[in-house]
Symmetry: C2
């Protein structure tokens, strides 16, 4: 189908969704979730085709696992959708209303964004998840998933549309691009006038491509070259626990620690303890010369290491003279995601919080907490690393806009 | 100078500006304003060169007037900068802080966007104005003004930098691209990693070009195809006053009315009165067949008229059957700027406010109020017609982002 036809259908649906109250939207969500349960055989059969194709083309085991749906995983998807029902609906709230000197009342009201495009890779769970969050906030969504998951995605979307149709809700609240070609993706990124925003979810390559090619407003999500600075006044046990957690609890995620900065005055004492602790998970440390002089087993770091998001059991390590040097290094090499200081010094804690330029800045806690659920939003559509519109974990509020509403009684401008 | 060098200088300056308190920023603003007064001869001399070139190349009188600086206009620029000093500084405010179940405190703090790019046309007053708003919010700004104003802009920027330098503030808080070529503009729009946002200020062509070419996040400002719907229950006098004001008070602005929709049941009575009132300013009415049948002097409208922002003494006019038809027409043809209903019916007022998709929706007031000063922000950097980040008139708040700040005492993720 022509993209502009899909765009117009989404736009038409968005006007209807924008008028719905929370009760009606929740009814639609529950119906869609129930339909996924009821028609899970259809979804699993479609997924089996994707899995077969993936194995035939030699897809890596980790990726095949992300693509795989099981009955238990479908339960998880359904449970996730039902949890969204329980979240507070931000739409319709009037967040300010003030009287102007001429008597006119000027207020600001939360409204849906309108039509949201999501471009993602071969993770079929994103399909239902993104729909639930967009739908709850009154937005129509157009999904463009990876070609490896196309059968799974088509089945999930068809089933959700069945559920919506059964309770009289416009099924074009969710549409999937069945053409997964690169050309169509590029055309999708330029669907101005229909798409209000495009959110890419996936690896650095996907996100870069969307940022480079899109003329529609994009929310850049993404890569995390996260640092932990261990200050001279740090509690060593706390620093070791946090470093170990942030580096090894889950290595493939954007809020994992990729680099540590150690204050010179504690390096000789701290580095051997850090090595011992990270040896438990065979973490390779790539360090500057001075750290390598203390721990000869460290690998010598290159300039490239300071800017690398490993997503692996590897961490870079640099010795610094002060919190100022740590902040300058972080602001030079980070990706604006999550940064932490371990300290017991009040001034250094405040300085780090104030001066580090990132979506989330921590004192004495693991960077792994940068997450919509951990922050208490009850949902997450992604983690924004840009400064416009939304920064950090994005919950339902990030899927809303505002409009000014003005109550007058005949005011004209002088 | 190479663009990335300019970008790096701005980024370095932005880190210093982000640390400044309001008192220091206000001191810088006052020093820059004073310097403009003190060195106004230099600015006027530079402007005289631009004016001479403009006249030599036959620039239209209206554009020459917008380019012209006089001693009185410089007083106005200085006065505007001093007013920004009096505005509340939004930076540093912690807008939320909640405790998580694990004891960690998660808060959100207002911070500058960082580096803001402004692309604008030959209006030298924008140079000082944009600087003042960006600087007040701790942002570094890189300006790319039109080639016709290059001497004026260079003089203003040099003088502002003198003022900043004299009080020890990094002068790279403001930089101007001296190369006004199209190629450099395009390169500027792709300065990812240095520019946090790009704001185009100017006509539809400029804005379209920035949206099409930019890979940096853009705030689209802009065009306004604004409608006024006169409901069957409208007070005719109020409707006439508001229509006259919105259409004719200032024709070349984005919040002027370009189209009116009239309820069928009042058309025969209202249209002659409307014609009489708008005849005072010789407004040409381009109307649908039915309206033309009532008033033969109306010009017959084409499909193109419904989507046209005239910025002239011309207005389109259509007869509709209901508030629903009015809303559907507006949501089809508008540019998401400002829309008004004139009514005394409660339900129709609420329906219009809820269902019209625009930055500002009015009941019984002129669309001309969509403006940062009229809304009480004390400033305006532009009027956003997109839904992301900021919508409607943008004051200081639109030039800020947030970051999450987290106070822990050793929390790790389970």
């Amino acid at each position: 189908m022509e993209l502009r036809v899909i765009g117009q259908k989404a736009k038409d649906a968005s006007f209807l969704l924008g008028k719905m109250g929370s009760a009606e939207k929740n009814r639609g969500l529950l119906a869609a979730a129930q339909e996924i349960l009821d028609q899970q055989e259809k979804i699993l059969a479609a997924n089996a085709i994707d899995i077969e194709h993936a194995k035939a083309k030699g897809m890596a085991q980790g990726l095949v696992d992300r693509l795989l749906l099981t009955s238990a995983r479908i339960d998880g998807i359904v449970e996730g959708m039902r949890q969204v029902v329980g979240l507070e609906d931000p739409i319709g709230e009037v967040i300010s209303m003030k009287q102007r000197p001429n008597g006119m009342m000027v207020g600001q009201k939360r409204v849906p964004l309108g039509v949201i495009g999501i471009i993602y890779e071969a993770r079929p769970n994103v399909t239902a998840d993104a729909f639930a969050l967009c739908f709850k906030t009154g937005n129509a969504v157009i999904l463009r998933g990876g070609s490896d998951a196309i059968h799974s995605n088509q089945a999930i979307v068809a089933v959700i549309r069945d559920g919506l149709r059964k309770c009289g809700i416009p099924e074009d609240a969710i549409q999937l691009l069945s053409d997964t070609s690169r050309e169509t993706a590029t055309e999708f990124m330029r669907l101005n006038g229909y798409l209000d925003v495009l959110i890419p979810r996936g690896g650095a390559g996907l996100i870069r491509s969307v940022v480079q090619n899109s003329t529609v407003p994009v929310i850049e999500t993404g890569t995390g070259n996260c640092h932990i600075y261990v200050d001279e006044t740090a509690d060593f046990d706390m620093a070791l626990d946090i470093l170990f957690n942030a580096k090894t609890q889950r290595i493939g995620v954007c809020n994992a620690c990729e680099s540590t900065l150690i204050h010179r005055s504690i390096a000789k004492d701290f580095l051997p303890m850090m090595k011992n602790r990270l040896d438990e998970k065979q973490v390779e440390i790539r360090a500057d010369e001075e750290a390598c002089a203390i721990i000869p087993e460290f690998v010598k770091a290159t300039e490239e290491d300071w800017g690398t998001e490993y997503l692996d059991y590897i961490m870079s390590c640099k010795i610094v003279d002060s919190v100022d040097e740590a902040i300058a290094h972080i602001n030079k090499y980070n990706t604006g995601h999550s940064e932490a200081i371990i300290t017991s010094d009040y001034d250094n804690a405040q300085k780090f919080l104030n001066e580090v330029d990132a979506a989330a800045v921590y004192v004495n806690a693991s960077t792994r907490f940068t997450d919509g659920f951990e922050f208490g939003f009850g949902a997450e559509i992604g983690i924004s690393t840009q400064k416009l519109h939304a920064r950090g974990p994005m919950g339902l509020l990030a899927l809303t806009s505002t409009k000014y509403i003005i109550y007058g009684n005949g005011q004209i401008r002088k």
